[in-house]
């Protein structure tokens, strides 16, 4: 009786621990902060050697303010479409509004034919423009910038 009593409690807590272990092993899968793909890891490492390569994209103004997306070398689509990397819920943004992509070690912003335009530090983006660190990019009511 005593043995089964303690045994059951131990088993109950073992279940809790097993559940937490699954949660831990799952930590990076849904977070998107660290994508465990070896190919992408290599890309980040190479860019990191420059010392001042941007590591993340930060939303500074707008409904999504505070959102961070880590840059892993793949292009970032911005717009109202559900499959965008940064989904904007903004009446002034187009479905596919702008794209940030990496060329060599620099990030470029280009407008994808949006209605209200994309602005890189007050200049309207008509052709792909290089994005320096910390320069605001305005899309509708949302402002984003690149940071290390």
């Amino acid at each position: 009786m005593q043995l089964t009593r303690a045994g059951f409690l131990v088993l109950l807590w073992l279940f809790v621990l097993a559940a937490l272990r699954v949660v831990r092993s799952d930590l990076y899968a849904a977070s998107g902060l660290r994508v465990p793909t070896p190919g992408l890891r290599r890309g980040t490492g190479k860019a990191g050697k420059g010392g001042k390569a941007p590591r993340q994209l930060v939303v500074t103004h707008g409904a999504l303010a505070g959102t961070r997306i880590s840059l892993d070398g793949r292009p970032i689509l911005i717009g109202r479409a559900d499959d965008s990397t940064l989904v904007l819920d903004d009446d002034f943004a187009s479905t596919r509004h702008a794209r940030l992509s990496l060329r060599g070690t620099d990030w470029y912003v280009e407008d994808l034919g949006s209605t209200n335009g994309t602005y890189l530090d007050r200049a309207k983006v008509t052709a792909p423009l290089r994005v320096p660190l910390g320069t605001p990019i305005r899309i509708g009511k949302t402002v984003i910038e690149l940071r290390t």
Partner: protein, 487 residues
């Protein structure tokens, strides 16, 4: 929030990254299966322990109970595999274990009360078989929700319809005459149709959450418009308080019309949390809690049933065999359980009134002790935590709000239940999700879990909707290589 998903469709991969187009994130269904098997094992052991400690022989009845439970688990797992393959692997096992433990405890109370005559004159009828039946029905609903609702954003379109239905369901028992909405144990929250009765408030909870999430997504601007800044809080403008006042009025009217303190607290708490999640402004919470306190104090002054509850809470020993009886028996039960509990089947849950519904956590505390009860609470925490985690990761605002609200509802409900049982807050008499005996509660909570799984599936699945997209000449340049979209 807006995070990149590995192999996300629509992000043209550069040639340098060696991600193969077929790369998919793991579905983690095997982890879920392992945890489910663990849960099933635990429940089986618990059932055998109860039988061994009560009757010293194993009857066929528990074999049937156990088999039915295993069948339910299997179907649930297969349904998730089929309809939500990327869903969170921890949510379902937690629910399964809670439901299973609840079943074991209900069966255990049946054993203790077998042959008892009820105050009404009838004989105690075993509740466990009925609970198994309700679980099966709840599972059918769970599968229907998962199968029919392939995208949770569909719900946002019917926001106002759900809101209207929810409000009707919430208020209906309070305003209907008592032959169809009888007052049971002092609360007027039931609709009875002959042999069985339902508690529409449980479903209203989910319907209203869908409505509030949809409403807040479309009207968020209204709530973020700043008014004056007082003591470091951005107070909203007075005219924007309308929805909050409406929610408050509904909450207080539940308290008054239906004499149901728990639901009123739960409902108002959910509204406040959704507002807070949508606006990230503490002012709403401060204002709302203040309004609720004022409403509660006024209700306490004016209405006898609220006074009784508060009196029992402050000083249950004033009337130990009458009004304070329930809470005192629950406290004695918890005290008998001590740290390690009396052992499954070793307690005396028949002493605790309403043992298989409102006070089931007291029974668990008695038989499994502090250690066991805290394990149960951790299970609820993990459940709510995973729900919130997935709503952070899902990419649409409606999903975030709905997922956050649903997970909060589970956590808040168990807080109200355990707070009441342990005399932290006045006893309110709502059911512990998945543990308590009760059809409406089980049905509603299984639907809630189906929604959570649907949202987590959306958060974790790779984007694979083959949407034809027009070619965009602006992006065709020498540095970008268009590769085939991952399937």
């Amino acid at each position: 929030m807006g995070s990149p998903v590995p192999g996300a469709e629509g992000t043209p991969l550069s040639a340098a990254s060696s991600t193969s187009p077929g790369l998919k994130p793991p579905t983690r269904r095997s982890s879920e299966l392992f945890l489910l098997a663990f849960a099933a094992g635990l429940v089986t052991i618990a059932l055998i322990l109860v039988e061994a400690n009560q009757e010293q022989e194993l009857t066929m009845r528990i074999v049937w109970l156990g088999l039915a439970y295993l069948g339910v688990l299997t179907v649930a797992h297969l349904a998730v595999r089929k309809w939500a393959p990327y869903a969170d692997p921890v949510i379902l096992p937690c629910v399964a274990l809670l439901n299973g433990l609840g079943l074991v405890m209900i069966h255990r109370i049946d054993l203790a009360k077998e042959g008892d005559t009820l105050p009404g004159g009838g004989v105690w009828s075993p509740a466990a078989p009925k609970q198994v039946l309700w679980t099966a029905i709840a599972l059918v609903l769970f599968c229907i929700v998962l199968a029919v609702l392939s995208d949770h954003r569909t719900l946002a379109r019917y926001g106002y319809t759900f809101g209207f239905l929810g409000l009707v369901a919430l208020v209906l028992p309070g305003v209907l005459p008592s032959f169809i909405a009888p007052e049971i144990n002092g609360a007027k929250i039931w609709l009875s149709f002959g042999a069985f009765s339902i508690q529409p408030g449980e479903f209203a909870k989910i319907l209203l959450m869908v409505f509030f999430a949809a409403f807040l997504v479309s009207k968020r601007e209204l709530f973020t418009a700043a008014g004056r800044r007082v003591l470091g809080l951005d107070l909203p403008r007075a005219r924007d308080l309308g929805p909050l006042v409406a929610a408050w009025a509904v909450g207080v009217s539940i308290m008054v019309l239906q004499k149901d303190l728990g639901s009123s607290l739960l409902f108002f708490g959910i509204v406040l949390v959704l507002l807070y999640v949508a606006t990230e402004r503490a002012a709403w919470v401060v204002l709302g809690v203040g309004m609720f306190c004022v409403g509660a104090v006024v209700a306490w002054r004016l209405f006898g049933h609220v006074q009784i509850r508060v009196q029992n809470w402050l000083d249950p020993f004033a009337d130990p065999s009458g009004k304070g009886y329930q809470i005192l028996q629950s406290l004695f039960g918890l005290g008998t359980g001590n740290i390690f509990g009396a052992g499954l089947g070793g307690g005396r849950p028949d002493e605790i009134p309403e043992a298989n519904t409102d006070f089931i956590t007291a029974v668990i505390g008695e038989e499994l002790g502090f250690v066991g009860l805290s394990a149960v609470l951790v299970l609820y925490t993990v459940l709510a935590l995973r729900g919130m985690r997935n709503s952070l990761a899902v990419r649409d605002t409606f999903g975030k709000l709905l997922g956050g609200g649903l997970s909060f509802a589970v956590a808040f409900q168990i807080f109200i239940v355990v707070g009441g049982v342990t005399k932290l807050i006045p006893m309110t008499g709502i059911t512990a999700p998945f543990l308590s005996y009760g059809g409406s509660s089980l049905l509603a909570n299984y639907m809630l879990v189906a929604l959570l799984l649907r949202i987590s599936d959306a958060a974790r699945a790779p984007k694979s909707t083959p949407k034809p997209r027009p070619q965009q000449p602006a992006i065709a340049d020498q540095f970008t290589v268009m590769v085939e979209r991952p399937k």
